[in-house]
Amino acid sequence: MIAIVDYRAGNLTSVKKALDHLGVESTITHDPDVVAKGDKIILPGVGHFSSTSILDECGLRAAILERLDERVPFLGVCVGMQWMFASSEEAPTITGAGLLAGRCERFPANVKSPHVGWNSLICEDHSRLFRGVTSGAFVYFTHSYRAPVVDTTVARSEYGGEFSAAVEKDHLFGVQFHPEKSGRTGMHLLKNFCEL
């Protein structure tokens, strides 16, 4: 059972729908006990970085981090990926999970923000999440803040400079784009994650 963590940030039904389509069992939950029992954890989220503070208030942060210590596969999507970093310029007082070093920043003023639409990926070959996906594949983004390119970056995208489209470190995965909204490529990535 995959636990889709509900922290009241945006719309979670699309992630659930995509997993249903793949025939993978999942549940949307804000209950730390349910998260603690998940074989895998997905932290979705569209919206503001500050909404991740709800994770702390509901005891979800502790539940997630405990599970991650047990090496349960984790996928952060959009704000969920940004939460894996130390912090974000969007809400400087909110602490991210700090699983990855770095701070998320706003797009430079010379490009329209938010970054909305289909952008191409530059993928690293060794990624488990991107197995079967090659550079040049398109995925759907919608975000105003971005994570820097770091040593755990496995896919980059370009918009007002390069940023992390995906990160991967052992059992930890994060994607800035929305795999559940990225057509066949997105479904392929979700399938890869589900099959880990």
Partner: protein, 275 residues
């Protein structure tokens, strides 16, 4: 590279897809859920479902249609038409929409933009603007000049007025000014329809599109007038649109989506192709 989007629009009335010319003469074009999936498969970058009647009685039908369409769709899915409150928006999101589009309700109560954005994020709120070139200056109350600092159309005399209620009611508001305000209030995108061009296939109103695109910092979806490949090239290049929306050209087999995207790519417009 960020690509330009081709968005397929399904105008829905009482659970069926319809399409008209200049907001009139509606024709039946099929089942919304089937057509949404077909467009996704054919390479549409997004699907928009617009409830063109948007009557209270049809609300349940719409929600059911949205739910059926969303089940098969793994690309961004927008629903609009008749959403008047946060509660109505929530019902549409619950049914599986990724974004909602609001028009008349946003004009009537602009704070609705912020209240939906606060709950679902700005990226989930599209403000739709139906704009028409002003020909009747005597009754255009919104004759506010766009100031030069925003880089929009200035003294060339061209003005666009925002209409509501499916194009039936004038607002007296300058469409470019309204787009600016909507963006300031937290809209994530502007869906800009030229009423003069809607359903004609003779080309988008590039002047209108550019005026809005240069005024706001959020993406602008151009709508109304899409026809041959050239019309799309023009709205992306001259109109500076981030996305273009089209309906009838796809529904009735007048043109295959894939052909359009391939041709646009050949013309140098960045496209998600192959997809």
């Amino acid at each position: 590279m960020l690509t330009k989007r081709i968005i397929a629009c399904l105008d829905v009335m009482a659970g069926r897809v319809v399409k008209g010319v200049q907001f009139q003469q509606l024709r039946d074009a099929g089942d919304p859920a089937e057509l949404a999936a077909a467009h996704g498969e054919a390479g549409a970058d997004e699907v928009v479902l617009l409830d063109v009647t948007a009557t209270h009685e049809n609300r349940k039908t719409l929600i059911d249609t949205v739910r059926r369409a969303a089940r098969q769709l793994f690309i961004p899915f927008t629903v609009g038409g008749g959403i008047r409150s946060l509660e109505e928006a929530m019902a549409v999101f619950d049914a599986g929409a990724d974004k909602i589009s609001i028009n008349s309700a946003a004009i009537a109560d602009p704070s609705l933009i912020a209240s939906i954005a606060a709950r679902y994020g700005s990226q989930a709120v599209i403000v739709a603007i139906d704009a028409k070139r002003v020909t009747d200056w005597a009754t255009f109350s919104g004759a506010v000049r766009n100031d030069a600092s925003r880089g929009s159309a200035k003294d060339d005399g061209v003005k666009f007025e925002a209409y509501v209620s499916g194009g039936r009611k004038r607002t007296g508001r300058d469409a470019v000014e309204w787009a600016h305000e909507a963006a300031e209030r937290g809209a994530g995108e502007i869906l800009l329809t030229s009423m003069d061009r809607d359903g004609t296939g003779i080309g988008f109103d590039c002047e209108l599109t550019r005026a809005v695109s240069e005024t706001v910092s959020i993406p602008v979806i151009a709508s109304g007038g899409g026809g041959n490949t050239r019309t799309f090239v023009e709205v992306f290049e001259r109109g500076r649109a981030d996305a273009a929306l089209a309906a009838s050209i796809f529904h009735f087999g007048l043109r295959h989506l894939a052909d359009l995207k391939r041709e646009l790519q050949s013309a140098g417009i960045p496209m998600r192709w192959p997809c």
